[in-house]
Symmetry: C2
Subunit: 341 residues, 2 copies
């Protein structure tokens, strides 16, 4: 019941343990005839290598951790699925953690303390900052996804947030909107991601000669539907409300559309809406959502490759910054002919 061991296979095939080990891993020189005999014995006994023993011996478990602030947020669920897929094609397994955005928890995971058997960590940080991470003792290979700060000493995988935000804004300007609000600016301590998106937004406004009204950038604590709806209500209470909103996540956009709907506004006629993330539901919302689509598959593959590279080609190489692609998907919420992506 408890599974055959190398020893059992070896006895059955009439060879030494080490020869079986070599066959299993395709290493060392083994005569074709013995190889076949061993493979036969393996099949008969249904041998499966013991991962723990292997890990104990080699120091490799083949497991990498993926830590996200909130697995139920569709963006992270979709990203997680891509990471799992990318890891599978590279022969390793993913252990998902849900940090809840708690800095202490993120730090614990970044240090590899969550489970000492993991080989590396992919972390999507939220509250973490560089001072906390500066002296992390245990040096587990760490890759940050869509990071919060440039200063954290680790590899980074991200998209060109500034360019993406600029493109989204340009699209709104092109369809004639001039009072463009932004939802997604935190009240304090803006992440690098947010700073870049604001920068792209302002660049586009400036290039078009459109003045920026700070009252059109209400503060938002999280990237949730509830916060999007709340921010939208603030905007709609202005004496001179916006004719477009650029939301830094699709969930914010979903909440904003909900609030606009309750306020009796039509999207896109009265209010154009652009999101960010391209989560699946945005294709099916009513109206479907124009959004910036980061290439999640590429992000996942870059991240998994980066962490595996650091695990094998070991740790001291300089930290890299890897950029994945993105696209602006134009749908109904900005009033173009519905393309039904």
């Amino acid at each position: 019941m408890a599974g055959a061991r190398l020893k059992d296979v070896a006895e059955r095939a009439g060879v030494s343990i080490k020869t079986v080990s070599n066959v299993v891993r395709g290493e060392g020189r083994v005569a074709e005839q013995t190889r076949r005999r061993v493979l036969h014995a393996i099949a008969e006994l249904d041998y499966q290598p013991n991962a723990s023993a292997r890990h104990l011996r080699t120091g490799r478990s083949g497991i990498i951790a993926l830590a996200v602030p909130e697995l139920v947020a569709p963006y992270f669920a979709e990203l997680a699925a891509e990471v799992i897929a990318a890891a599978k094609t590279r022969g390793c397994t993913v252990l998902i953690e849900d940090t809840g955005g708690d800095p202490a928890e993120e730090l614990r995971i970044a240090c590899g303390l969550s489970d000492p058997l993991i080989d590396g960590v992919l972390l999507s940080p939220l509250g973490l900052d560089e001072t906390m991470l500066a002296n992390r003792g245990r040096r587990v290979p760490l890759v940050l996804l869509g990071e919060q700060s440039y200063e954290i000493p680790a590899d980074h995988v991200l998209i060109d947030n500034s360019a993406a935000a600029r493109e989204a804004t340009e699209h709104l300007l092109r369809i004639g909107r001039r009072r463009i609000a932004v939802i997604g600016q935190p009240p304090e301590r803006a992440h690098a991601t947010t700073v870049q998106r604001m920068h792209g937004f302002l660049t586009a406004l400036h290039a078009a000669g459109v003045p920026h009204d700070p009252r059109l950038v209400p503060h938002t604590r999280e990237f949730t539907r509830a916060d999007g709806a709340a921010a939208m209500r603030v905007l709609l209470a202005l004496e001179d409300p916006p004719d477009a909103v650029f939301c830094f996540s699709d969930l914010l956009a979903s909440g904003a559309m909900r609030a606009a709907h309750e306020h009796g506004l039509r999207v896109p006629e009265d209010l154009a809406v652009v999101g960010f993330d391209d989560i699946q539901e945005s294709r099916y919302s009513v109206p479907s959502l124009t959004t910036v689509s980061p290439d999640k598959q590429e992000i996942a593959e870059l991240a998994v490759d980066a962490v595996l590279h650091r695990i094998t080609n070991d740790a001291e190489a300089p930290h890299r910054r890897l950029t994945a692609g993105h696209d602006l998907l134009v749908r109904e919420s900005t009033g173009t002919e519905a393309p039904r992506t």
Copy 2:
């Protein structure tokens, strides 16, 4: 860097390895004074037990696998988050797998072959059937979530699908709908879950003396938005289209509402819609969705407890069937005053 071992702590504290091991696990008899000395050494060296060595020795890894058909489906993402939380409070970790609904993959995972270091498996099956599972060799403790068939030899965690479907249907009848369609019936090989929901639906119709029109139950292959939209279009092409739809998932309902919208229908005025799953986005859709809400937290806790129970109190107890609670959440899509849940 590579982490301290029991041996290092032992040398530092001037005791034997075994004494340190005893202190770490709070077992055996250790004098208070040595205990303090050991704890001090542990803190100084930042000792963390090596999970693999422990697993190799004890046969327990503290890791359970959760396999779902599709992690990007919000229901499964939300369920996964609950399972992770439940496992954390019970001191174990969760490894998430994405089977894609592939029966072969599900079988592999049900047999514990995905990774031999896992202690137990929570599986949400889609394609698996009992004949495949009958002679699974390796006996990893297995718990099925919302299963496909009663006959599979394992513990089951589910909700009362029949009662839930009946309640949803009764609600539609109560608000005056008479031509009620159902979306979610597969073209063949209906799962136990689907069978029960159909049963609850028909029971309610029968009790109200409303005749059942089989043309109002189009076939659907998957529980996706696209399938929901396609099924809805079929229904809208009928000469006598429905005035209500009961969808077996919120995603189906989302697709159905999308199709209804494109067809120029108003929800709930022209068409009332009820979903199943209570995923977060259903609170924010336009209109918000009336839906059956399974108690996901309870499901997760029952499942984790069940698998842990089987791991420790070992395997041969008779298989149990555990039922979690559910609720019907009435929102805008069935026309009541919007309660903004």
